[in-house]
Structures are given as C-alpha cells and as structure tokens.
Subunit: 147 residues, 2 copies
C-alpha cells in the first residue's frame, strides 16, 4: 500500500478532490456540478480525472447507486495540503520563517492574523507540555473569505 503522503495531485485533480472533500462522498456527476461554472469541464473529463485519482489511490469507489459509482476520498484534505506546503517550504529553504516573512511582505498577513496565531500557539504549547498526545484540531477550518 502506497503511503498517502507520496501521492502527488495535479491542479485539476486537486480541484476535484476539493469538491469531494466538501461533499464527503459523491458521484462523478455531483463532482462535475460542483465545479465552478466558469469553464466547467465535460462530464467525461471529470470522469477521467476521478479514474486517475482512483489509480493514484486518492479516492475509491464506496458503493453503487443505480448504475453510478459513489466515490469517497481516501486522502484527507489535511494530508494533501501538508504535502503542498512542504513542497513550497522546500523552495524557501525548508523553514517556515522566510515563507511567513514573504507572506507579510506581500501583504497577505496582517498583524491581527499573527497575534491570533500567537495566542493559539501559546495555548497549544502549554497544553502539549502537559499532554503530548492530544491533537488540537480545526485550526484549518474554512472561514469566511474576503477577496
């Protein structure tokens, strides 16, 4: 069994996974309909991507409803994101600092962002020092976007 960390996803594959992660599970049709209407790919295009995702081990057939397969993700959004981040980090020398500095420099990171993050981290570190096993979750939960 391949380690899921080793699965690399292309841009389009990631979009499809994104839809699946949001839905939990879904058919090819449902995935297609969830993709942005602007320049929505053909049904069979989505089908091809889902097939490739299955070959890569990123999704699997969960069951069949009627004559349609229902797919579910077998890699978590988090692990996929982790991979992407790690790749990006490599370009920045492996450490998060230059990346953060860059984020700040190009205006993507506000002082408020950082202060909140600092609080979270501070709490984590005290919590972790007492009980190292507990995974603090949901920091990456989607939140209202502004563009």
């Amino acid at each position: 069994m391949r380690r899921e960390e080793s699965i690399k996803l292309t841009r389009f594959e990631l979009e499809v996974m994104q839809a699946l992660w949001e839905m939990g599970v879904g058919s090819v049709r449902e995935i297609q309909e969830r993709l942005p209407e602007k320049r929505r790919p053909a049904y069979t295009t989505v089908q091809t991507i889902v097939r490739r995702l299955e070959e890569k081990g990123a999704v699997r057939k969960l069951k069949k409803i009627g004559n349609a397969f229902i797919f579910e993700p077998t890699v978590t959004r988090k692990s996929a994101h982790r991979r992407l981040i790690n790749e990006l980090l490599e370009l920045f020398g492996g450490s998060a600092r230059p990346l953060m500095a860059h984020l700040a420099e190009i205006g993507k990171l506000s002082l408020e962002d950082v202060r909140e993050l600092e609080n979270i981290l501070a709490q984590q570190s005290t919590a972790d020092s007492r009980k190292a096993g507990s995974k603090q979750k949901d920091l990456s939960a989607p939140r209202a976007r502004r563009q």
Copy 2:
C-alpha cells in the same frame, strides 16, 4: 509584453532560476554546475530549460562571452515566490490564516517564529500607518530591498 506575474514556472525551471538568482547572471554551463550533484541533468537538458525560460520571458541573454551566452533573470525571485504563494493561498480559500494555522498544526511554525514575525509586522504597520490609514496593503510595493 507579458506581465511577469503571469509566467508560471515548473519545478525544474524553478531550480534553474534558483541557480541564476543566486549567481546573478550565468551561462548554461555555470547553471548546470550549480545544480545539486545528486542526479545532475545533462548539459543539453539544462540548455533546453534555459531556452524555455527565455521563451517564457523569465530570463534573457545579457551578452556573449566567447561563444557562450550569459543569461540573466528577468523575473525576480520575489515575484516568482509571490506567484507560488498566491497559488497555494487559493487552495486555502484566499486567506493566509488557514495556511498559517496549518503550518502551526503540522509543526512547521514555532512560537518563536511567530513572535519574531509579530515584531516585524508591528514595525511595518507603524511605519505604514502614516500613509495609508486603512489596511496595510502596499507591502508589496517596490521598497528598496536587496535581492
């Protein structure tokens, strides 16, 4: 003239650019020799990548020494990195917060990192607040910085 922000670089192209950015300018030979010895690509492979980079407008011929061209980057490391970061940010909903949270969650970000960053940001914001009252934009404006 294409806007440099629109230039997308592949993994290998980025490695080559990395070498060029470090050197400032250089020939194909020099670039090749600067690539990591582990699995160093053939000379003509590097040559091909450099040619593609030239077609994309990421480098240009600066001059000729002997019969060899000397290339120089025409996109800055910063702008290339900005593009990569923006692409990654899109996956995280466009905001840096979830990305930061994720970084913290997977242990890539320490409390010290964040505290230092906070200092930097605090200084920037006081400097900027004199000009633009609202959001701290413009951090990406050309601000005499060494490359």
